[in-house]
Structures are given as C-alpha cells and as structure tokens.
Assembly symmetry: C2
Homo-oligomer: 406 residues x 2
Amino acid sequence: MALIVQKYGGTSVADIERIKAVAERAASTARQGNKVIVVVSAMAGETDKFTKYAHEITDMPDEREMDLLLSSGERVTSALMAMAIQQLGLKSMSFTGRQVGIMTDSSHTKAVIEEIDASRLRKALDEGNIPVVAGFQGINEFSDVTTLGRGGSDTTAVAIAAALSADVCEIYTDVVGVFTADPRIVPDARKMERISYDEMLEMASLGAKVLNGRSVEFAKNYSVPLVVRSSFNQTPGTLVTMEDRDMEKTIITGITHDKNQARITLMRVPDRPGIASTIFEAIAAANINVDMIVQNVSSDDNATDLSFTVSKADSNKASGIIRKVSDEFGGKGVSMNSDVAKVSIVGVGMQSHFGVAARMFDTLSKAGINIMMISTSEIKISCVVDVSRIEEAVRALHDSFNLDKS
Amino acid sequence: MALIVQKYGGTSVADIERIKAVAERAASTARQGNKVIVVVSAMAGETDKFTKYAHEITDMPDEREMDLLLSSGERVTSALMAMAIQQLGLKSMSFTGRQVGIMTDSSHTKAVIEEIDASRLRKALDEGNIPVVAGFQGINEFSDVTTLGRGGSDTTAVAIAAALSADVCEIYTDVVGVFTADPRIVPDARKMERISYDEMLEMASLGAKVLNGRSVEFAKNYSVPLVVRSSFNQTPGTLVTMEDRDMEKTIITGITHDKNQARITLMRVPDRPGIASTIFEAIAAANINVDMIVQNVSSDDNATDLSFTVSKADSNKASGIIRKVSDEFGGKGVSMNSDVAKVSIVGVGMQSHFGVAARMFDTLSKAGINIMMISTSEIKISCVVDVSRIEEAVRALHDSFNLDKS
C-alpha cells in the first residue's frame, strides 16, 4: 500500500465534468489499495477573474487582501472535489491551507512554507478519508491567509508529500509529461521517462512551463519522487527523481527556449571595481530578476560593454533604471533589444562529456544563426539569439543531439 | 463619534462598480468622524452558482463541504471591499469569520453563533482601520468553517454590533425600508420611520423579506438599534427599535402576505389525546416547519378534522408523512391545497385596542373573500385565503386600517 499525493492543476478541474473525472481517478487509485491525498488548484480562469476584479478597483492591490481574494478559488475546488469523491462512495474531507497546518512567512503573494503540522491529515487518512487540500495557500503568524506565488499548488503538494513521507507526488496537468523540446516546435520531440531534479530545475528556470522551479527544489531537498502526467488520459508521465548512472550516459536531456527575454546593454562603462555591483543592486532594489550577464573584456579606453537579459515585462523599468546609472558613470548610453530569445541545452551528462558546447555553437553556426550572448552552468548551456530564428535553433539542436532517439 | 456597523447585501455589492459605490459610502461615514465596521455578503449570484455546482455533483451535498464552498463568496467580497476603501485613501483590512473570532456550534449550513472574540476587530479600529468582515460564516470547535443559514450576513452584522456595543447596525439592501405592505401590490403603501423589534419579527416570519428573523431577534436580545435602508440612494430607512408609547397609538403597523403556503388536512382523525403530538412529531422529525394549525371541534363520530400549513417546498414531503400517519389511525384520508396564501396584520397597538380582529374579518367578508384558517398572536392576526384573492385582501386591509396615512 503506497501513500500517493495527487495534485490537479486548473485545466484538470476546469469545470464540474472535469472535477468528476478527477474524483474518479483519485477514487480508483484508492480502490487499488493506496492511501491518496488530493491537492487542487482553482478552476481554470478563476484566479484571472479575481485578479481582474482587483485591478478594476486599484492599480496596486494590497497584498494581504490579494491573498485572501486569490485563496478562495482553491477552497471552492477542494469542497467540490470532496463532494465528488463522496458521491463515488468513498470517504473524503476538504482541508484549507490553514487546516492542514501550512505555516508560512508573511511575504504575501509569494509566501514561503516554514512548517507543516501534518497531524490532521494523518488522522483523516487513518479514518479512511481521501483528504482534499486547497493548494497555493497557508497562514502566517498573524493567522492571515498567505499564498505561495506562481505554481503554488505544486509546492503545496510536494510539501505535503515531504511532510508525510509519501511514496510519490503526482502532478497532473494538461500535457503527458516533460518533452525533449516543445512538441509544438519540434514534431519529433520525445516524452522523457525520467529526468533528474537538477535537469528539471534547469528546464523550469529556462522556460519549460510544466513544473514550477520552487516545487522541484522542494522535491529535491526532501527526495520526493515527482511524476508529471496528464489528467486527460492514462499515459504514464515523466518521473523526476535523483540522478543515476543511466542518466549520465545521455549527454543532453532536453532543449528549452524562452521568448520572454529582452537584452539591455550599457555601452562603454568605466572598467573599475564596484561598477557591476552598483548596477545590479539598483536592479535588484526594483525587484527585477536578471537572467544572463555578459561583460566584454576591457579595450584601450579602459571601458567595457555590459549586457544582461531580463523578462520582457521588466524591460522598460530596468532600462529606465540603467539609463540613470549610466549617466552617473558617464557611460555612452544604453541600448535595449526586445527581439531576442534564449535557447538552452540541458543534461547532467554534459559534465562527463567533452565538446558539448562546441557542438552547440557549431550547430547554430551551420544553421546561420548568430549567437549574441552565452552563459553556462554545470548542466546547461544557453545562447541568446534573434527571436525570429529561435524555433529553427531549437529544431537544429534537437536534431544535432539526436534527441528524437531514446 | 459613533460606532456604526454597516451591512451590505448581495445586490449592494453585485459588481465592482457597486463595491466602489459602497466603499464610498463607508468612507464618507468614517470621514464624518465615525468608527465604521463593514459586513459584506457574497456578490449577487455567487451563492446560487456554488449551489448549482454542488448539485451538479450530488443530490445531497455534504454539509461540511457545502459550508466551505458557500463561505468563499463573502471572503471574495471582503477582500475587494477592503481594497476599494484603501483606494479612497483610508485604512482598511478584511476579516474572515474565523479572524473576527465568530465561534459557532457545529450545525453546518445553519450554525448558531456561540461567542465572538471582538479583540482583533477592536485593535483594527483602534489602529484607524475600517474593518471589512466576511458575513455569513464562523468556525466550530474543530476549526471547520460553518455558515449561519439564510440571512446569515445580517446575523453577523448584528452579532458584531452587539459584541462591540455599536451605536447602530445599518442593514443596506435594495429597498428603502420596511413598508406598511408590499408596494408592488399596494401602490400607496408607506415606508415606516420606526417599527418595534416584535413587530419586525412578526413581519419577517410572515414573509416580509427585508430582514431575517434571527437577526432581529438577536438585535432585540442585545438592544441593538437596526436601520434598514437602501445602498442605492440617500433616503433615510426604517429604524427597528424598542417599543415605546407612540407605537402603541398605532393600532396596525403593517400588512404582510405569503404565497408560499400549502394547507394539509387530515379528515376525521380520532379525537383522543396524543394524536396531535404523534402527527407533529412525525413532521418535525422530517425537519419540516409547521406554520398554522387548526383543529375543529369534535363532532358526533368522536373524530375531528385537523388542518395545518407548511411551505410549498415541504408540502409533498409533509403530505406523504401524514398519509402514513392517517392510515395508522384509520383516518378518512388526507387532502392538500397548494392554492392558498396567508395575509396578516401586525401591530403592537392591537393589544390595547378592541375589535381589531372583527374589523379584519369584516373587511375580508365585505370584499367577498372566504377565510379558510385563522391564527393569532398578541401582536398579529393571520388569515389563510385562496391565493387568487390574496392581493385584493392586502389592498382591502391596507385601506380599511388607513395605513396610507402616517
């Protein structure tokens, strides 16, 4: 008998018919002799509706109020799901974030889980229930409702799986698993059977939308096996787990891309200590995440060009800040390019194989695609290219690294 | 400086424009130097939507789950209202039933408030906030969400007003106050300036929908002055307060009617002790409320006819139960009439005036309207008549008791 946490996302519980279908799946897992905990998101569209309401009232909704507002969607789904499971003749009970004892810090709209008191869930399981937990939410020390930010229901599911030492945490979504590349761009992209936490983390941070990075990190830290799969069919999904020998044999696991990028370049800034920190402190103070940073070697005038990428949404704000900084330094101005995109290859195997970067650059070069920026980590290499060539780049790399073959 | 509790019903917060308008009203009350607490219902239509969802899943939704589901609507409104008040430059915070410390018993879907710990509300007021409370909900000893049943947000408002010794509890709705009769039926019906708790209680139980009986009773027990008024204009409403000398001078305060009635008659049941209790215990066991009961005097066969009224919704269930009981007793069968309605005159003044009942019967008789059943209390007289004549009956009585004149 296994303990299985099943998390169902917004499209999986989009309407009453979907909720009934998902209840059937949870019930059938339980009837096979497993203990099951269900974690649910808000019905697709609800969170957007609430956000729209708030923005009809104010441009800057108070975050404490926003959290109370947004947490309502998951509560509704959890009550409906518990009813749907009961209707199939099984015992079920809903639980809010508070009722499962999810204690968070007070960073409203992006709270971090500090503690889970799993005793009430354990009791419900022992009494033969399928507990249904409202995802995405907890409470802080003042007993105010908090939400966990983007992908928060995944985080709830993984945290509960960790707290109860579940055998597996299944993340149900509208895709059948993690692919070697976006199947809409690469027709022969292959669904992976397995991927390591670190690879999945890179994929998530690089723009693959299947899983949220925070939940993968949580799963890695607590060694919770994750399965990503579809609630719309019975296809086995992708297992996210610890790295093993087999994985290292594969040089490249997948290719991701991200069109939501803008490049900002400061031209001819003085090349002296402290400049970079001043620049990026100003950016960080505005809560903007910087992705890649490239600084060219200094030339004769003892000045350098410094480029970095941010998300398109932050690009105007970031370039405004940077223009001021550049003026203070007597730089030669700031340029912004929003027509850029990032393509990345990911794989734990590249640590033990030579020439992976060379092959990537060669592949892009042969396709006549110019590389604007490069960054690397132990298990990924990213290149910024012109957005008009991005799909071509993904296809060429998928081909070059033979990702269509398992 | 007064402490004012303002409760806004579903039509008063039906959309974002209405929420903004209501925020403006609360803010302006605060700017006049008052402390204000706002209690909100769910946006009109939300509760029905949730109920429909539940019934698409099951005919018998679990009541604990139903309460979690239904309580969400008020939470959403409370967060949006707090944002709207903040947007006007005032401090505001939302509070759920739990956060205001509304402790109830465990009768899900119709819970009774047992205790309010008003300390968090008091603190919020002291810090200069307009607290916005999600109506209709509390929690029980297991920390599960409960709801207070029909009119529950009114009850929340009155309970908070009582707990904080507020100067007045204003109930905002889509009508301008309590009328001497339904203005859709009696064009010259008059809005009352004042009405006593007891009269209001009778009016509420007799079908006037403006205020829920439980909240009036609560207000009476804790001497909370209630004002019923419209959130759509500035017309002063109706004050519900303690009875005084002036009120007794008016013989009749108002006329109500209720078309939601059905009459069930047991024919020729044996006239012996214990029969009536057996009948009404069976009805009560099915959670059906009986309104009027009339038993005719026994005739030669030592048997009697017994009639009672129930709401139309309960009529089939009730007559099914009664048929069984009648068979056990060897009664002569059961008849049901769904084409009946009840008209009532209400007034504390009738205690000190003779001939009120006679004038009522005379008025109906002169209009050629047959009276099927009669019941009386200290401050009201009700008659059951054919539903096709009910509006005529209301107009005739309004006229006869000169209710168009103040």
